[in-house]
């Protein structure tokens, strides 16, 4: 039950929004996964990522994030589950030594060896900001601290999100007890000293409260008071959900400390982060967002059918960028790479197919396609051109594209019968061969071929 019971296989970037030195980096490790179960771990890690990027405010900040999955094998599957806590008594030989019952008599206290986990995270992703371990067990459990740990039980991903609030953003607990409501007598009144954390306060004064700019004039301050400080406040919220105010009972005490909303993920799992927490997260993550894109030249846009738009432009960094309107919203910008001059051209011959073109800084024309749900590679079509290309399709399987050569002539080339034909100089008097080329029968020698062909 140590690092001798497995090995670190490798690291995969499963959410990639740029260099690790410039993004906020989450590391997800697995414990209790045998080598044959790494595929399952990949799915489990992806499930957390899917939840994370759909969770406000991360849904609007996902471009700031990278997520790294560290594949770690263990000799055995699962985690220790001591009988003393009502468990099965299983002793699992795992790399991070995952064990339920890490606190006496509390089975759900699932923890790992944090020192090992931090060492692996540091070695695999030196720029990591937060580390978590998913334990391969369907028994509910987890713990927080330097490493967030949680199992595969339904709802356990909430543990990871709550712990991100602590570890990554410095939030305090917003619940009004330590051990539990009615289970203690020494958490009635918060001790003096304003908490440094941004989401709890002793100050419910409208004029000086730390989140006063978010409190509406009509909202009472404090918004709730606990009438009996020997127990948790049982009253329901007197204001609509999402109202920012000062609700008594926070920072592990029944009275004397206030939280900004009636509910928050830092107060109870399965709630959104409150407005104050979301603002802090945005502030902390905004430096990790990529700079706004800037473009040169003109965009190209195309549609392959109802409800679908794709548009392209050349960035000031010379790369081509694409973005789509699909499922009633705009997707992310996709950096298609390259180093281009002028403006792009785009065309679709039918659903699921896009072809786009641009002139490289080396003067050659390049083409790339979206087909079978992914982008293909850039194809160098050669030539030596200036300005911007034009492209068109008259139907499935047929593309024609045009550009002006550095000799001032217009050139055309076609995709037909599943291959590219030759360049045709259209500035010469029309020949029967060129007519054949325009109708798809391409090949043979073309007069005044573009001066440089990089193919």
């Amino acid at each position: 039950m140590s690092t001798s019971d497995g090995s670190v296989v490798g690291t995969t970037r499963i959410l990639d929004h740029g260099p690790a030195s410039q993004r906020w980096n989450l590391v997800i490790m697995g414990d209790g996964y045998q080598a044959s179960q790494l595929g399952q771990f990949a799915a489990d890690a992806q499930r957390f990522v899917d939840t994370l990027v759909a969770t406000p405010p991360f849904d609007g900040l996902h471009l700031a994030l990278n997520v790294f999955r560290v594949d770690v094998t263990s000799t055995d599957s699962g985690a220790d589950d001591p009988v003393s806590c009502g468990g099965t008594g299983i002793l699992a030989r795992t790399y991070f030594d995952a064990s339920f019952c890490s606190r006496p008599n509390i089975q759900r206290a699932l923890a790992v060896n944090n020192a090992t986990a931090l060492a692996v995270a540091t070695a695999q992703v030196p720029q990591f900001h937060m580390a978590m371990v998913i334990v391969n067990s369907t028994v509910y459990g987890g713990t927080g601290g330097a490493v967030a740990t949680f199992s595969l039980a339904s709802g356990a991903t909430e543990i990871g999100l709550h712990e991100m609030g602590h570890t990554a953003f410095g939030f305090a607990d917003e619940y009004a007890y330590l051990v539990g409501c009615g289970a203690e007598t020494d958490h009635d009144n918060h001790p003096p000293g304003e908490p440094a954390q941004p989401n709890v306060t002793l100050d419910a004064n409208r004029a000086t409260n730390k989140w006063r700019d978010l409190v509406a004039a009509a909202t009472p301050m404090p918004t709730t008071r606990n009438a009996a400080c020997t127990k948790c406040d049982p009253q329901a919220s007197p204001v609509p959900a999402g109202t920012v105010g000062a609700f008594e009972g926070a920072d592990l005490f029944h009275c004397g400390a206030f939280r900004p909303e009636f509910t928050c993920r830092m107060q109870a799992l399965n709630n959104p982060f409150c407005t104050v927490c979301q603002r802090v997260i945005r502030r902390k993550l905004s430096p990790f967002l990529p700079p706004p894109l800037h473009f040169a030249g003109s965009p190209a846009a195309v549609s392959w059918g109802p409800g679908r738009l794709d548009f392209f432009a050349i960035g000031t960094d010379g790369a081509m960028y694409q973005r789509a309107w699909v499922d009633d919203h705009f997707g992310d910008w996709v950096n298609l790479g390259g180093h281009f001059a002028g403006s792009p051209a785009a065309v679709s011959w039918g659903p699921g197919r896009l072809d786009f073109f641009a002139i490289g800084t080396d003067g050659a024309m390049y083409q790339r396609a979206w087909v079978d749900d992914h982008f293909g590679d850039w194809v160098n079509l050669g030539g030596h051109f200036t300005g911007s290309p034009a492209a068109v399709s008259w139907g499935p399987g047929r593309l024609d594209f045009f550009a002006i050569g550095t000799d001032g002539a217009m050139y055309q080339r076609a995709w037909v019968d599943d291959h590219f034909g030759d360049w045709v100089n259209l500035s010469n008097p029309v020949t029967s061969r060129e007519l054949m080329a325009l109708t798809g029968h391409v090949g043979g020698t073309v007069p005044q071929h573009p001066r440089v062909n990089n193919e």
């Binding site: 020192a115 356990a156 440094a196 180093h339």
Partner: protein, 154 residues
């Protein structure tokens, strides 16, 4: 065939020299285990002033003259209680006290010009009754120093 070469990324505008410090603690006794320099972006710090009477835990990067250059409020990394989670909707969160806190944690701080050391500031365990303002519990040089000089409690 491929498009003309282009760097994978534009030069960093925000990443900076930083130091990842890994600590071990036994109660409020904090030891520095390792120090790694790394080029990365660090979340913005917290207010450098106006927190003198506050409670909690934060790290300060200071110059040789003691001037605070960077301050970051963090959730108390010394686990005086362990957070527990439950799928019982009536009480999804709770904590259980830890009699003798011991463990490890990491901290990344900017290695800014003029930075000399990192100080850890803590108001200690959150106990009922009066609570003292936070105080420095340890400081560590940001750069390697002669053996035996690392980490000292003021």
């Amino acid at each position: 065939m491929s498009a003309p070469d282009r760097p994978d990324s534009t030069p960093s505008q925000r990443s900076q020299a930083a130091v990842r410090l890994t600590f071990a603690y036994d109660g409020d006794d904090v030891r520095l285990l390792s120090r790694h320099r790394v080029e990365m972006t660090i979340p913005p710090g917290d207010a450098l002033e106006g927190h003198e009477a506050q409670a909690g835990f934060w790290a300060e990067v200071r110059g040789v003259d003691g001037r605070v250059l960077h301050r970051r409020v963090i959730h108390d990394p010394i686990q005086r209680s362990v957070e527990l989670f439950s799928d019982d909707p009536e009480q999804t969160l709770s904590r259980v006290p830890v009699e003798r806190p011991e463990g490890v944690f990491t901290l990344v701080v900017p290695d800014v010009e003029d930075a000399d050391h990192v100080a850890l500031i803590s108001s200690g365990p959150q106990l009922p009754g009066a609570r003292a303002a936070a105080r420095e519990i340890a400081r560590f040089p940001l750069r390697p120093s002669p053996p035996g000089s690392q980490g000292r409690t003021p």
